[in-house]
């Protein structure tokens, strides 16, 4: 996911920059375009249509959905200055797991990272709230929990681990 996002962003950014570069290089010699307002309308419509498609595709499945079927695989996670407490450290693979994310003090960010260092998902840990997030681990191995909301001087040291069993 991240690499696709990076590639798409860089391409669109480069195209935008090229529009400016081309306009600057034209040196004002381009014909005063009498169809420019038509083009502008075209751009607005194109952005609206692309937006509609991207929005509906990206939200068709609600990204934060938590299914009732997963309720038996519940893990309680608590963040505090500056530690993570997690009540199960060995989790099954290929099954939806629901994390109940709590905080003992300030806001923290529950982030889960795989062995190659890629962030898989995250959820805020808010005072006074229990935030639930669901994930299916399809690979066994060691996973790290990091903090993704600034919480004070040892924020970068709030790291713990859990494993996903081979079977």
């Amino acid at each position: 996911m991240q690499m696709i996002v990076l590639a798409v962003s860089l391409v669109l950014m480069a195209l935008t920059a090229l529009c400016f570069a081309a306009a600057i290089r034209s040196g004002g010699s381009a014909r005063p375009a009498d169809r420019s307002e038509e083009r502008r309308r075209g751009l607005i419509w194109a952005m609206l249509v692309v937006g509609l498609v991207v929005t509906s595709v990206s939200l068709r499945e609600w990204p934060h959905s938590v299914s009732a079927a997963a309720a038996d695989q519940t893990v309680n996670v608590t963040g505090g200055q500056w530690f993570w407490e997690i009540d199960k450290t060995e989790l099954p693979r290929d099954r939806p797991i629901v994390f109940n994310v709590h905080t003992a003090d300030v806001t923290h960010g529950f982030g889960v990272v795989n062995e190659s260092g890629r962030l898989l998902f995250q959820m805020q840990a808010m005072p006074g709230y229990v935030n639930r997030v669901q994930y299916v681990f399809d690979k066994p191995g060691n996973y790290r929990v990091i903090c993704l909301e600034y919480c004070g001087v040892a924020h970068h040291d709030m790291i713990t681990e859990f494993t996903v069993a081979a079977n």
Binding site: S9, S26, I44, V106, G128
Partner: protein
């Protein structure tokens, strides 16, 4: 219609830009120190890192706001008789706030970040006292009151001169039978919209500041953390956006001097600014996409409005500028180049921001370095580029008579090139780091991440060199002005 008819209040604005220029260089150096520490090329204590991070964040957001306000005040004082004393009060309150904030951070040890996310200021884990946190928040209050006073004066005068909010926003033209000839100047529409949303943002900010202050002083006083977070991001989002929307007034006012065609308030322009007003206020939930306690409709709104915000920017402001550039020869000098760069950087930076505004993407990009990646693009290469462009324009007459006689000297080209290459490289390194899941706001980085930070530090040095050249050229221009 009302044309420019007053002498703009140049003196205090020029002083403001001196302060801003010097502060920018200092705070950029703070930024470089952070990146060098992440590269493990220097080593500072985490406590100091987070103090510097707090000073850099609060200071940069404040400076961006300050430069935006200076542009707003300067150009609006062409059209309406603004009371000069108000600006001095604004500047005084701003500087008082800066003193309080710096004291809180570097004497009191406050390191709760510029976002003062509730309840972190009151729960430092022993790092700073509640007195330090309160001083920091009072510094914000002082700056906020200054902005409020400044905006109320601008708003009051625009409302009086242009027939109410509706007239100043060009609503008759946008939504009624109004004619183009009767519409206010483009910069007045932008000024009215920015004034409205920034007042709303500052009022929300004041409310959550007071709540946080009471929480510090009366520990039993409970605030709902999610409500506080909503208010903080309404304020934070609006304030930093307002700085850009105010700075773009410099583009609307100055670029026509270089092309010879005025930046007209067309129907599309008027409609787009009404949508900007709406979007800037409604988009803030894109900062809370990982808070499932928020109602789903709010998160969906955040995602959709993030995307829609790109339309007035890209299809109206950027598109119009491209038309200007294509339609007629523009005279290039430091000012016009930096203003065009500012719109280009703002447009380019909006793309990774919009993409991160999608909930699915945000799930793996939020609070990684992707975020400082996108906002440094539209700040360094956007808002601050416009501010430097405005500075260069303020001293354009002194600079024209420079010995070389050319409008765009070799040193100017060097400065822009350095700044552009540095800014692009520096921000792309943040984006790459974010895509590699490197978290933001980490004092200490894993060994496998240090090379990105090292390369980024090199680019940061270029940004600082470019900025220093801009500021020196501005100061020399001011000195030349006086001789003349």
């Amino acid at each position: 219609m009302v044309e420019a008819k007053y002498d703009p209040q140049a003196g205090p604005v020029k002083v403001t830009m001196i302060i801003a220029g010097v502060v920018l260089i200092l705070l950029m150096t703070f930024g470089l120190i952070m990146r060098l520490n992440q590269a493990a090329l220097i080593e500072i204590e985490p406590a100091l890192f987070y103090q510097i991070m707090t000073a850099h964040g609060a200071g940069m957001v404040g400076t961006a706001g300050l430069t935006g306000a200076a542009v707003l005040w300067y150009f609006m004082s062409r059209y309406v008789p603004l009371v000069g004393a108000v600006y001095n009060v604004f500047l005084g309150l701003f500087l008082l706030g800066v003193v309080l904030i710096l004291g809180a951070i570097f004497i009191g040890g406050y390191a709760g970040a510029w976002t003062f996310l509730f309840p972190l200021p009151a729960m430092s884990g022993g790092l700073w006292t509640s007195g330090a946190a309160a001083t920091f928040l009072l510094g914000y209050v002082s700056i906020g009151v200054g902005f409020l006073v400044m905006h109320l004066e601008v708003g009051r005068q625009l409302i009086r001169a242009y027939g109410g909010i509706s007239g100043a926003m060009a609503w008759p033209l946008a939504f009624g039978k109004g004619r183009v000839e009767d519409a206010p100047p483009a910069s007045v529409v932008a000024a009215m919209a920015s004034t409205i949303f920034n007042v709303i943002g500052v009022v929300f900010g004041a409310a959550v500041l007071v709540a946080s202050l009471v929480n510090l002083l009366v520990p039993g006083f409970e605030v709902d953390a999610l409500l506080a977070k909503n208010m903080i991001y309404i304020f934070g989002h609006i304030f930093i956006n307002a700085s850009i929307y105010m700075a773009v007034i410099a583009v609307y006012e100055i670029i026509p001097e270089y092309t010879g065609t005025p930046w007209k308030t067309s129907r599309v322009f008027a409609i787009s600014w009404s949508f900007v007003l709406l979007f800037v206020i409604a988009v803030y939930p894109h900062h809370l996409l990982q808070d499932v306690a928020m109602p789903a409709w709010a998160l969906v709104t955040g995602q959709i409005v993030s995307y829609l915000s790109g339309i007035p920017l890209l299809a109206v402001t950027a598109f119009s500028l491209l038309l200007y550039l294509r339609a007629g020869p523009i005279k290039w000098d430091l000012a016009s180049s930096l203003l065009v760069l500012g719109v280009a950087g703002w447009s380019v930076g909006s793309i990774p921001a919009i993409i991160d505004g999608m909930i699915v993407v945000n799930k793996v990009m939020h609070n990684t370095q992707w975020v400082p990646g996108h906002f440094h693009i539209y700040l360094i290469l956007g808002e601050i580029a416009m501010a430097f462009g405005f500075m260069a324009w303020l001293v354009r007459d002194a600079r024209k008579s420079a010995p070389t006689g050319t409008r765009m000297g070799g040193l100017d080209r060097l400065a822009i090139g350095t700044y552009l290459v540095g800014g692009a490289g520096f921000t792309v390194m943040f984006l790459v780091s974010g895509a590699m899941s490197i978290p933001r706001r980490w004092a200490v980085h894993a060994p496998e991440w240090t090379s990105q930070a090292g390369i980024a530090s090199l680019f940061a040095v270029l940004v600082i060199i470019g900025s220093t050249l801009f500021v020196i050229s501005y100061l020399r221009g001011l000195a030349g002005d006086k001789d003349a």
